[in-house]
Subunit: 211 residues, 2 copies
């Protein structure tokens, strides 16, 4: 594992958000922005913004602010968005299909190369020009293709088995949507989207805003 220096996980988690706002500014042809203006937009304090962005060298200049385009490019690079990622989706129900169609990602270099399901009614279908293959072909596919990211959209009962196959097939990261915590070992990056956890947090917050 590469040394990440002093960059904390919390800062990394905030980078996509910075990048999103910078992208909007670029679309509005804004060339530069001060930490105070960024603060008004994003909602972090100006001092936190300066501290966060100082982690990556001095993008900001006193009295000038940040160069929007340069900062966007640098954050993209730090996040690893200056390269492409080959992805496969395992589990092609509604969620798997939704992710396949989420064309937004293609623009950012996340390319779905294959989809797999166990359901014969789905196998052979073409989703966003990607053929759904039989799950039994997954091992061989991974042997023959170097895939960066495996996306798990199966039910929770199947998710660990799928993860094991993905790890064996040498993916570098797993994006997991199944409501279960997976074991993937140290070598593979794991990012979970636990929709039910998120919905339950919302329920809690609703009840604690009521009188």
């Amino acid at each position: 594992m590469k040394e990440t220096g002093k960059i904390s996980k919390a800062v990394i988690k905030r980078l996509p958000r910075y990048r999103r706002y910078l992208e909007d500014l670029m679309k509005k042809d804004v060339d530069r922005i001060s930490s105070n203006e960024l603060s008004n937009l994003i909602g972090y304090t100006a001092s936190q913004i300066r501290q966060d962005l100082n982690n990556f060298g001095g993008f900001g200049q006193q009295g000038y602010g940040y160069n929007v385009k340069a900062l966007h490019a640098e954050i993209s690079k730090i996040l690893g968005l200056d390269r492409d990622y080959k992805m496969i989706i395992v589990g092609c129900g509604n969620l798997g299909q939704a992710l396949a169609n989420y064309t937004h990602y293609y623009k950012a270099g996340f390319i779905v190369c294959g989809m797999f399901d166990i359901n014969p009614r789905l196998v052979g279908l073409s989703i966003n020009d990607i053929e759904v293959m039989d799950y039994s072909a997954l091992d061989e596919y991974l042997e023959q293709n170097q895939i960066d990211i495996g996306i798990i959209c199966t039910n929770k009962g199947s998710a660990q088995e799928v993860a094991d196959k993905l790890v064996m097939g040498k993916v570098k990261g797993i994006w997991n949507f199944a409501a279960v915590d997976l074991e993937v070992g140290e070598e593979v990056a794991l990012e979970n989207v636990h929709l039910s956890d998120s919905l339950q947090s919302l329920a809690y917050n609703i009840n604690h805003k009521e009188d």
Copy 2:
């Protein structure tokens, strides 16, 4: 806003995860579990588990451990899962449809009552027995029905307008899937699922595991 005592946001964020493991234990007919055993399962330290669960009164007994069923019920109650939530979905593309079909949530008392879209090809369709209504009918629907949660699955350009309508229509919480940070005021709970942020975090982590 109700006083939440000393319960930190971080603890609340961990509760759905505790609940998930406790549910699995219940399915395996496990009656009680020690903080050490829970620690092995969940991956938090036993001391953190004891500290977290102490926030809600003493569920654990020295030498006995936690009563799985009682702890599950209490966490469910704290999260507000002992009641039902009426939900609507705005934006019925693949993701909206995926969420409508995510029947898992129904079991937990999250009930989709209506779906809305602006696309005439979707309006009138029935998804999981819920009719997709025209977006122009949203205001009136919200006037006539007390909806707890509005789910936003539109593109980012439309999301704030939808959020404004939902707030005006007196929803208590918004579950936002659009890649934008919404303004909803103090009264409404907001939970974001920013898929692109999550994918970018994964990209970062992949690049920092490589040699």
